[in-house]
């Protein structure tokens, strides 16, 4: 965990509102961990913005982000060569599991951390099925790379402009049915809930990566809590962002 000044090596737009940012330096992160980025040197916006580690090598850190508001809009304007303040690596990251098969479920920009996880799992020799859902074709990133890396790839869009029309979770039961896999999911809360429900019903291990508004990112401010399945609060930044599905979702069954 450190604070680093990192230079922008590459900054490119990959799809509608989606940018990939490559920074120089080694932050030493595991898949599922995140960093806090100072998007501007001005005191407004005041807080850093959390972004999942999209890739991490000994010489670079890559983020993949969607422009959704003030901070990400400012970030998108930072040119190559600019220096960003980065704090990390933060959070627990995805746990290593034993099963040889993994099913990764990405919703929208939730694809960001799963890219790094995918590479890591493949390097460990695991079989990976990748389910990727977006609202529309214009948001899809890195499709070819995913296809080339995985055993099984499914694409859905809500408007049917690419892949199968519908929600990515609709495909999940049949993908899971054929294998003995652990599930790793990242995406909008409603999607994660749906994934968790399927996992519970099928009695499979499932990890979800959550989001919350953050201030410190290190567990000190207690601002980022979510209500756990037991009614107790959990900090997304340090107890998570990755949780066992059952820890944060409960289903009356």
């Amino acid at each position: 965990m450190q604070k680093k000044k990192m230079e922008i090596l590459e900054h490119e737009q990959l799809a509608d509102d989606i940018f990939r940012l490559k920074l120089a330096g080694d932050i030493g992160a595991r898949p599922g961990q995140f960093v806090q980025v100072g998007v501007a040197s001005t005191l407004e916006p005041f807080l850093n913005r959390p972004f999942s580690v999209h890739n991490c090598t000994e010489s670079s850190l890559t983020l993949l982000y969607r422009v959704v508001g003030r901070g990400t809009r400012l970030l998108a304007q930072r040119p190559k060569g600019a220096i960003l303040s980065v704090v990390g690596p933060l959070g627990n990251g995805f746990p290593r599991t034993k099963k040889r098969q993994a099913v990764l479920v990405a919703g929208g920009i939730g694809v960001a951390p799963l890219y790094y996880l995918l590479h890591t799992l493949r390097a460990e020799g695991k079989d990976v099925s990748f389910l990727y859902g977006t609202k529309t074709a214009a948001e899809i990133v890195l499709e070819n790379e995913f296809r080339s890396l995985v055993q099984e790839f499914h694409l859905t869009t809500e408007d049917g402009s690419a892949g199968k029309q519908g929600f990515v979770t609709e495909l999940l039961p049949q993908v899971l049915a054929e294998k003995q896999a652990d599930i790793f999911a990242c995406g909008p809360s409603a999607m994660l809930r749906a994934v968790a429900k399927i996992a519970t019903q099928m009695d499979l291990t499932c990890f979800v990566s959550l989001e919350a508004e953050m201030a410190c990112g290190v567990g000190a401010c207690l601002g980022c809590v979510v209500t756990g399945a037991d009614g107790n609060y959990r900090r997304v930044c340090t107890d998570g962002p990755v949780f066992a599905a059952g820890e944060v979702f409960s289903f009356d069954s």
Binding site: K3, L47, A212, E213, A220, L222, G223, C224
Partner: protein
Amino acid sequence: MTLDLTVKIGNLLLKNPVMPASGCFGYGEEYAAFYDLSCLGAIVVTGTTAEPRPGNPPARLVETPGGMLNAIGLQNPGVEAACEKIRRLQPYKTPVIVNVAGNTVEEYLQVIKVLEREETVAAYEINISCPNVKAGGMAFGTEPGTAAKLVAALRPATSKTLIVKLSPNVTDIVAVAKAVETAGADAVSLINTLLGMAIDVEQRRPVLANLTGGLSGPAVKPVALRMVWQVSAAVNIPVIGMGGISNAEDAVSFLLAGASAVAIGAANFRNPTVCPEVIAGIKDYLLRHGFQSVREITGLARTEEEKRRRAK
């Protein structure tokens, strides 16, 4: 030339005037990953109550222009569990100040009673200004008489340094400061957060589950500085100044306004190494201007201003 950064707050001798603000530094351990906490003037831990408190439901925070609103609601494990966390700070050999909160005089007393047993605890910061809990907290801080009664009740319970943390959400903060001074406070710290609110226009509802929250960060600095200026002119006990400090220049302006020490809150979130950077920056300022002790600049803007006015 050796530079003297030490300041005295009640019985405490701090090696320098910089400490984190309560609630922004957990029980210290989080920031220990970034630097050696023993460089701090003091370690101020989060608001601690007699019983464990779950805090408010989320959403608990929202960014605002130049600052943030929080409505944590004093989430803390209760004083018994807090003791364990506090003990872990012992190796840093740095005074630990525990922020004490409660809904009744008895609750405050109970927290102090438990903490009295803890050697690591050097001082109490009595939080009479938390805007994020229903009963208590700020209720004690908005009326001089009520504040004085609380402090008078706590004073006999300890010989440790008693700091009282004041609320800025008042017409006359000087009156509250004077009242708690008379009641036995060794120091006052100010400001706690300004009561504020944010509304999500798309969802047409308050952003925070608690509806309102406490505003902090650079946005509040001018208000904090004004209050430190006013209070330090009116009381004879040291003032710990805070509110929007995010760099050494900010910290120096609080010292010049009359603070003996400063605390840094929300800026830790933006920059986890802000505290040591501010310590270094204060040193730098003193050297650059030829001061030998940080105590020389406490209130200097006011004393020089008074000189100018008299000269006219």
